[in-house]
């Protein structure tokens, strides 16, 4: 951890300077130029709306902060939002709509399906898209396009980082199993996690680990009792809870009478952030780990982190900003830094500036790899336990893993190859 903090302290990027007011010009100069418009594409209706609102909150805070500090290149930033309804067609319509109204700098996108649909249109439309959540590996592999960047975790990097942490912290565990949704991302997350288990258990714990076949359930299923009964009979000690968000809540709620959480020594939820704990309250399984895009508590003392956290709590009253708030924020900061660096908002210039660029964000430095445009950034994890307070839960621990330790080498245009295959 100490090394990480030191690294963040020495790093100054254009965006950080902008936040501190260094790069700003006088308001007089700003007023003469048209604002720079950034297009946020995110689900703002339907079941995924909750994430879209977090994206929007983070992005809005970033735009306000940068504008207060004098803007970028003396111009203010302006947010244009479009609802992608988590549907590929609506996402492409949103992106084309933004492009035809003169917005070429796009960011956001939660669903990998939406990202995969927008990606091939970017080049023809002369636009850039910075992904702030969509995590499918193929976006920076076989579906790589020079106009696409990803500022947030990629599935492989995140899952292997989780595996690294459990290999270190739960070295005594000899076998893992999982319950996953029947989705592409569910399967690829688990495969990546297993890849990590097979690499990091020998490295960190000094022994191999047994992987017992994952159970798969329908996405959005309402009954998990059969799967729970099967899990109760398994010999595995670690459980990877691949089911996401509301499904994880339903499953854990139904599992409570069986004592599932007590049976396993550790439960890892790869990406539901606070949803499970916030929803289950006092019924939160003791010691549940969850992957999160950004955990504010891990970056106290980082000026960007603290300013974002304070602004978010002030505007919403919610003391637990979801990681997506940080990703929405980071998307704006990435553009601010790139525009500053390029001295222009032209697509080509911004792409050139983004490639290989490091920028400061609420979770420290992120660096876009030149080759595949994936950002190398920290992977965050938090651990929960029930509590006697009104909320009923608390955070009892967190981990920060440098993404560089778990990411694969870049191979744009080619599919990701796993080190080991799940057996």
């Amino acid at each position: 951890m100490a090394a990480g903090i030191a690294r963040r302290e020495v790093m100054v990027s254009a965006a950080a300077a902008a936040l501190a007011g260094v790069a700003g010009r006088s308001t007089g100069a700003r007023a003469q130029q048209k604002p720079i418009r950034l297009g946020l594409i995110t689900p703002l209706s339907g079941p995924q709306e909750i994430v879209g609102r977090d994206h929007l909150a983070g992005a809005t805070i970033a735009v306000n902060q940068i504008n207060q500090a004098g803007g970028v290149l003396g111009r203010t930033l302006e947010l244009e939002t479009r609802d992608d309804k988590a549907s590929p067609a609506a996402g492409v319509a949103a992106s084309k709509d933004l492009v035809s109204s003169g917005v070429n700098l796009l960011f956001g996108v939660l669903s990998s399906g939406v990202a995969l649909a927008i990606a091939p249109t970017l080049k023809g439309d002369d636009a850039v898209l910075i992904l702030c959540a969509a995590s499918a590996n193929e976006l920076t592999h076989e579906q790589f396009t020079p106009n696409l960047f990803r500022a947030s975790d990629e599935a492989y990097m995140r899952q292997r980082a989780l595996a690294k942490v459990v290999a270190k912290d739960y070295a005594a565990i000899n076998s893992w199993t999982a319950i996953n949704p029947q989705t592409a991302i569910g399967a690829s997350n688990w495969d990546s996690f297993v890849d990590g288990l097979n690499q990091f258990y020998p490295q960190e714990a000094g022994h191999n680990v047994e992987v017992i076949d994952a159970l798969t359930v329908k996405y959005g299923a309402t009954d998990y009792k059969n799967e729970i009964a099967q899990l109760m009979r398994r010999s595995a000690e670690g459980l990877y809870l691949g089911v996401y968000g509301g499904d994880a809540v339903t499953m854990l709620r139904q599992a409570a009478p069986y004592g599932l959480a007590r049976k396993f020594k550790v439960l890892v939820d790869p990406g539901s952030e606070y949803i499970v704990a916030q929803t289950l309250g006092k019924s939160t399984p003791v010691g549940l780990w969850a992957g999160i895009h950004w955990y504010f508590g891990a970056y106290r003392g980082n000026a960007i982190n603290d300013a974002l956290y304070d602004a978010y709590v002030k505007s919403t009253g919610n003391p637990f900003p979801a990681g997506y708030v940080g990703e929405g924020h980071a998307g704006v900061l990435a553009y601010a830094a790139a525009i500053q660096r390029a001295g222009s908002t032209e697509t080509g210039a911004v792409i050139g500036a983004l490639e290989g660029m490091s920028f400061a964000s609420c979770k420290g430095k992120r660096t876009f790899r030149k080759e595949d445009h994936q950002a190398i950034c920290d992977v965050n994890m938090v651990q929960f336990a029930p509590d006697d307070t009104a909320a009923g839960w608390k955070i009892v621990g967190y981990r920060v893993v440098d993404g560089a330790e778990s990411i694969e080498p870049p191979s744009p245009g080619k599919a990701l190859v796993l080190n080991t295959k799940r057996q």
């Binding site: 709306e49 069986y258 289950l280």
Partner: protein, 294 residues
């Protein structure tokens, strides 16, 4: 493998009762008014959210009687919404083609979903079952959560009550008459419009009470409204023209088949529900209870 057969069947029966409880109101509306009500899921969600909020409001303790009382209150409130819906929407659909009522109730589903979101927000919520129902019974290898046993009992009780009401009470005879020949009923002096309003109220009441009873079963989120609708439609149609008995049997067949297949046949989870549905519709093209009443 065979050791857990009992458990798998138990879990299938549980799912069947969940689907039946949800579908019971739908059956009433379809049986009498011939309306395939898409918005049922929306009103189910209203019932569930209401129960959630009432439980929160009344403090941390949740004795069983209060849980049941809250479910009834949710049913009554949703039933009252039924009067409004009937006046504003459903009544106007009597004269038009069935397909229109489908679209109208689909639009209503969107509307109710949006309103639920405005009132309760988009955060995922969840509620514990009452203390009496949060344990588990273990018989041999089979785990039976008490909440699941309760839902099983509730589904069965609901079935028996509806069967009695429809087939043995005077009100039931009257409802059946209105269902089979509303024109003749009105000529004989029955206030059919009022009767139909009450049936809508009854159907909505059942949606609300289903919401109240099933809150602890799954997370509450804006997508709850669409969760059971398709499965319930399946049970309803496989059962045959809105017959309660048929819906009950179909729910059991579909859910137990799905439960067995998802455990013993590797494949796509959830798909067996639909395979069974298609197969049953081919075997009994008019539903299980062909020509039966309600």
């Amino acid at each position: 493998m065979l050791a857990d057969l009992a458990g798998v069947v138990f879990n299938g029966l549980f799912s069947a009762m969940v689907v039946f409880i949800f579908a019971s109101g739908l059956t009433l509306l379809f049986g009498v008014l011939r309306i395939l009500n898409f918005s049922q899921g929306g009103f189910f969600a209203v019932g569930a959210y209401l129960a959630f909020s009432l439980t929160r409001l009344l403090g941390p303790a949740l004795p069983l009687w209060r849980f049941l009382a809250i479910a009834v209150v949710a049913g009554v409130v949703v039933g009252a919404l039924g009067i409004v819906t009937e006046r504003l929407v459903l009544r106007r659909l009597r004269q038009v083609d069935g397909a229109y009522s489908l679209i109208a109730t689909y639009a209503l589903l969107l509307l109710v979903e949006g309103i639920v979101k405005l009132i309760w927000g988009v955060d995922v919520r969840s509620m514990e079952p009452p203390a009496e129902l949060s344990g588990v019974w273990q018989v041999g290898d089979v785990f039976m959560p008490t909440y699941a046993l309760f839902i099983l009992a509730a589904g069965l009780a609901l079935f028996v009550a509806l069967e009695w009401l429809l087939h043995h009470s005077r009100l039931g005879k009257l409802m059946q008459s209105v269902a089979t020949d509303p024109w003749m009923a009105s000529v004989l002096g029955v206030d059919v419009a009022r009767m139909q309003t009450w049936i809508v109220v009854g159907g909505f009441f059942l949606a609300g009470i289903a919401g109240g009873l099933l809150v602890p079963n799954q997370a509450l989120s804006p997508s709850l409204a669409g969760t059971f609708v398709i499965q319930a439609f399946g049970a309803l149609i496989v059962g045959g023209m809105g017959s309660v008995r048929g819906t009950f049997m179909a729910a059991i067949l579909l859910c137990v088949a799905d439960s067995l297949a998802s455990t013993y046949l590797p494949g796509v989870p959830g798909v067996f529900f639909y395979i069974t549905m298609a197969a049953l519709l081919l075997l009994r093209p008019q539903g299980l209870m062909r020509g039966a009443q309600l």
